[in-house]
Amino acid sequence: MDDLLREFLTESGEHLDTVDAELVRFEQDPNNETILRNIFRLVHTIKGTCGFLGLPRLEALAHAAETLMGRFRDGLPATSASVTLILLTLDRLKEILADLEATGTEPAGSDDDLISALERMAEGSAEASAPPPPPPPPEPVLPEPVARELKPGEVSLDDLEAAFLAAPGPDESDFAAPAPVAAAAPVAAPKASAPKAEPAPVEVAEAEPARAEKAEGGGAEGETTAAAKNNQTIRVSVDTLEHLMTMVSELVLTRNQLLEIARRHEDSSYKVPLQRLSHVTAELQDGVMKTRMQPIGNAWQKLPRVVRDLSAELGKQIDLVMVGAETELDRQVLEVIKDPLTHMVRNSADHGLESTAERVAAGKPARGTIRLAAYHEGGTITIEIADDGKGLNLAAIRQKAVQRGLASQADVDRMTDAQVAKFIFDAGFSTAAAVTSVSGRGVGMDVVKTNIETIGGLIDIATTAGRGTTFTIKIPLTLAIVAALIVRAGEHRFALPQVAVLELVRVDAGAQRVERINGAPVLRLRERLLPIVSLTGLLGQTPAGSDTEQAGFVVVAQVGRERFGILVDEVFHTEEIVVKPMSVKLRHIPMFAGNTILGDGAVVLIVDPNGVARQVAQGVQGSGGHADADDDAANEVADSKTTLLVFKGGQGSFKAVPLSLVTRLEEIECAKVEWLGGRALIQYRGRLMPLVPADPGIAIKSEGTQALVVFSDGERAMGLVVDEIVDIVEERLDIEIAADRSDLIGSAVLRGRATDIINIAHFLPLAYDDWARGLKRPEQLSTILLVDDSAFFRDMLTPVLKAAGYHVVTAASAEAALDMLQSDPAIEVVVTDLEMPGRSGFDLVAAMRRGEARLAALPVIGLTGAIGADAVERARTLAIADLVAKFDRAGLISALAEIGAETVSKAA
């Protein structure tokens, strides 16, 4: 007999015993849903396993019993007759199991008597027509409610299936033969070609003695225990491991105390044994920790088999893709999610994916795909189960929710699709039209949710009609072991998960120092500005901006695409820590992922890099313009506000320039400034960069440091000399164009101060005579019509476009633009602001598309503050080639280049 079958027998024996006891409890307490659900699940498990092993008698019986119990759950009163009938069924199951154990095959025979009785009962005919042997006497003392499904060892299918997969021999062709593996092996050997011949006999050899042993064993009960003894590994409950873990922690503490005492006494005879104790303790701790970690692949091992069987059973072609099987999980977490994962994969196969015919009809590939992915993400482990099937039938779910009284029609109508989808997590909720033996009973999704929530996880659904459904499970790092950096901030130590840490930078008041822009600390790191948050400030321990930020370490961290630095006072070492969950009273604090006990017994908090990242984004949004900031956020901001860099230039006046035009902020040593032909230059990144004062009143200093605002385009760079960089502000720009100076666009009130907005177009030609003439790409001299109602933007973009090698003509309104288009046949591309007073950019494009052929075919690039879905849609209908955010110079240039390339290829 092989391990698989042996496991199954042991497990099923245990399950049936539990069901026996639970049924009796249920009979006395028919309203207790917990018991009923527990029974239901156990029987469901047995049934499922029988299905895999090809034990049709057992499966049919279990299915019939389950059907009846399903009726109980729907409200059929649990009469003693019906419970008796189920108990009888259980007895029959046990008989068959005993036979199976003795002979290795399912005994021949018919269970039609029981099955038909069960079916009749399920149909509602209350009279017990079943053969009525007396029910077993109810136990006077009832056992505690069993919550086995949450315990590790109880999940039989996993080990079973692992063994199944590991076992050599039968491949899918043997699936047709419903006999257990031991019996199938001899068949498999001749069927398989030469290489298979070797493993098969081994299996038989193993099977024979085992069977002989069984034959001597006698009674069914005795055999079950004998079978269990044969296992190489033992099952240990997580509670035992947990207890061991606690004890080891205790041991570590005691050892540390001993070490402390030994340090005070000079008696060296203690030292050697103490050293040994110390080592042994450390190793013990390691060992215990290791027992808890397993790759998630262990929970997935059986899934390929499950999917293969399902695909045969359901007549669907299914591919299973698994990504990230090596992701390590605490075994307790793993055990809890194993069954939910299996359920979900089965559900995806059964309900999610359409039949092959439907898929072909819908124009999809005939093979459906179920994709499983697991990965660490910041402080959580994310598991995705995605199918490319038909998506959830939300209308049916709404209807069913009303039917079952979960919500009123009005409520359901008001709910969003996402809310409606969540109904599938309610117990007994299944919209499947037909209950199949695979799924459709609504067992599962409620269990899935419960199990995941037990360990503090979250489950979410995203579904698109016709495209498929994705379940995302997020499990917090609780229980998992992570490497963490132990740091000090203020008076206390904290742990920072190492996954998020890129590097450490020492900062002091000297070369590597933290600089401030309007109080927001930043650090120059390899020619880039890194936003910095101080951990103490973040945690509200010291007011931000205190002297402590002058020296310390910056932990450079990355979460998603966001990079930031966390300023701490001291870095100690890295340590493998066991993440313990935060108390429910503290779980709302986003800064912490949990806590842990360090080697010295102190409790430290684990900083959640995700939480910090969110804080950073809120605190330094203004400087996010040119960093890898989230595009969506940037777009939202750009909607109505503009981020401006404010500096002092000339007689203490405030000037500003849109931050998006700025490449870098620099501070240079004045001694490095060189003068050539009356022009100031500096060697900058191996090239000469001209320096231009932002105001005639500014003289380039001769000593000390000089602040520069660097603008660059391609390989050219210009340093704008300013007195002092003041601030980055984000404000609605309301420019009063009053200045008749070409170096200024106008003035605006920023943060309550009158501020001049400088015109970069004025300075670029001062730095390079040819900049505005665009000698770089003479072959591309196409003419662009730039339409924008704001003079500011026209003035800002014109030099940029010119520098990129285009002729630029401008228009201030849609009407003017149309006139120019009519009169100037040289215009090849239109770049237009989409939000303009009066006729908008969309109106302009619509008018063009209605016009003569030349205008109708002219490529258009839309400039917009906010790229929303509807804007994209409108742009598509109007054949607008590209939408570019207003300040995205690089985006505009590349969009233009693309159009140029297209035109060329069309012409060719």
Partner: protein, 177 residues
């Protein structure tokens, strides 16, 4: 033992405690004091009495939470009874930096261990229904919400605290257990 079990497993323990008192049987209470006031805690809810040390403060936490501490390998959330009752911290730790709580009571709720930090722990009292009084209605609402009853003792009063109410505060955004 039966009664104790009923109290420990009954879901709304406030109800269970009341039941226990009403049946006339005596109940055991661990007495603790905060300032001048004497409080009683049902003994079956008390798992430990210990001197808290090495408390790690939790920044941004609700004011009631003193911090986390290591109790024999378990991380325990320490809560100040003073702050829970809306009382000021003891005078010698008013500056907050050298807070040195004297005693702590280990309590358990929903599988989680909490340490209730008090000024001191007194004796265990066995009390019957005869000395039991309802909570006076003129009490501060904070007290009234946390107390189940008051016992008249010789020369002083003992306010019986409802352990679940004591631990029952849920900060905004926290998930109910």
């Amino acid at each position: 033992m039966q009664a104790a079990n009923a109290n420990a497993t009954g879901a709304p323990a406030s109800g269970a405690t009341t039941n226990g008192v009403e049946t006339g049987a005596t109940d055991d209470f661990v007495t603790v004091f905060v300032g001048e006031t004497l409080f009683g805690l049902a003994i079956e809810r008390v798992h430990d009495v210990f001197v808290p040390s090495g408390v790690t403060p939790v920044p941004l936490a609700p004011a009631e939470i003193v911090g986390l501490l290591n109790l024999r390998g378990r991380v325990v959330t320490a809560m100040s009874l003073r702050r829970r009752l809306g009382l000021p911290d003891a005078a010698d730790e008013a500056d907050g930096s050298k807070a040195s709580p004297k005693m702590a009571i280990g309590l358990e709720q929903a599988g989680e261990t909490f340490a209730l930090v008090v000024d001191g722990v007194g004796e265990v009292l066995k009390l019957g229904a005869d000395s039991r009084e309802a909570v006076p209605i003129n009490l501060d609402p904070r007290f009234r919400n946390l107390a189940t009853c008051v016992h008249r003792l010789d020369g002083r009063l003992l306010v019986i605290l409802d352990v679940d109410a004591l631990l029952g505060f849920t900060p905004a955004g926290a998930k109910a257990a």
